[in-house]
Symmetry: C2
DNA sequence: CCCGTTAGTGAAACGTGTTTCAATACCGCC
DNA sequence: GGCGGTATTGAAACACGTTTCACTAACGGG
């Protein structure tokens, strides 16, 4: 991404951190980033597009931190629960930003669906990594059963984060829900490996 | 709900059916319902509020139809899968309306969270009904384990519908995902009852 | 160095969600 | 029937996402 687009995204992240979705006023983003409104719209089709770009940037950094130290634990359940705990805390650390990105991701805009799918696949890869206890790349050949488990858990996480973003439940409830879901889904036979 | 509010919601549903979220222009809703814009805003705090009311109305009618003939099947898995198939088809029958309601439900507005939670609890009750093979009221005393299963499946369904509403996947993929998730979660020992 | 093309700018305009307000209609009560 | 209070109306105004456009700056090839 060119420097200009990067600066726009950074500005959007700053504003979102401060005041959430509504605080990301595109006139302000453009002004703060030092570009004209038209330039912003040349790079990003919509506010949601911009916030998905922010989500991607944040995901990349979060992913890096998580991959650096994969959750330890002797069973798949412990590792998967650990992953979701770390990931949830990481996301909820900046609640306004998170809410803004989640809202953009849940907007249901078909133009953005592929990008949101990319995010989901990255989460799935991280879940599979935790399942197996060793890193797995996005797009690598993944066992069908593992992928099915990861896919379901990722959906639960997403829905749970939407509920969190509406203040229907707290951060700990999300973590708890993921622990429960993981316990329900993971076959015990998988505990060792 | 008074007749006036009801008429506003009905009008919103009509417009949403025809053209989705954006087609529900509140000026048009007010005009078509024969009330002033201010009157609409006295009853509904926002566009999302109005669409959640539409969701509630639609849910009530869908719920009635589903309760009328609970999915048959000798195992919990069959019944639960059957429920989600019927429910998904019922919702996807009017895709524009469904997308509009889903978008409102996913907006993450704390003002509406309780109402969205109400919807989720109704779905949970229906899932538990399918699990047990007999009707369960909303708010009834429900076994903790059953509720945990229903809660997880309901979250998967919601997230899957969000993906559908973004045209990331088709209606059949949602049904398939629910079948898979149910198979993952339901303990085999529960098959009989 | 000039030229054509592309990116960027500034400002205005449009659409739609939302708010506001003065004027009016309605309705129960004395 | 008059009165007070509340609901409704009509219209305007505001905020912000989005589009448009005429103008200018930058830049790479001849």
């Amino acid at each position: 991404m060119e420097e200009r687009a990067q600066r726009i995204v950074d500005t959007a992240i700053e504003l979102a951190e401060r005041g959430g979705f509504e605080a990301v006023r595109l006139r302000d983003v453009a002004a703060d980033a030092g570009v004209a409104l038209g330039t912003l719209y040349r790079r990003f089709r919509s506010k949601e597009d911009l916030l998905i770009a922010a989500l991607e940037a944040e995901t990349a950094s979060l992913e890096e931190r998580i991959r650096a130290r994969l959750p330890r634990g002797s069973t798949a359940l412990e590792r998967v629960s650990g992953f979701f705990e770390v990931a949830t805390r990481g996301i909820c650390r900046r609640p306004n930003l998170a809410r803004a990105c989640i809202r953009a991701a849940a907007s249901g805009d078909p133009e953005l669906a592929q990008r949101v799918a990319g995010f989901q696949h990255r989460v799935e890869a991280l879940v599979v990594s935790a399942l197996r206890g060793r890193p797995v790349r996005v797009g690598a050949d993944i066992d069908e059963a593992d992928l099915a488990i990861a896919s379901t858990l990722q959906l639960v996480w997403f829905a749970s984060l939407v509920a969190w973003s509406g203040e229907l439940q707290g951060r700990e409830a999300v973590i708890d829900q993921m622990r429960k879901a993981a316990a329900q889904i993971l076959p015990d036979s998988r505990s060792g490996h």
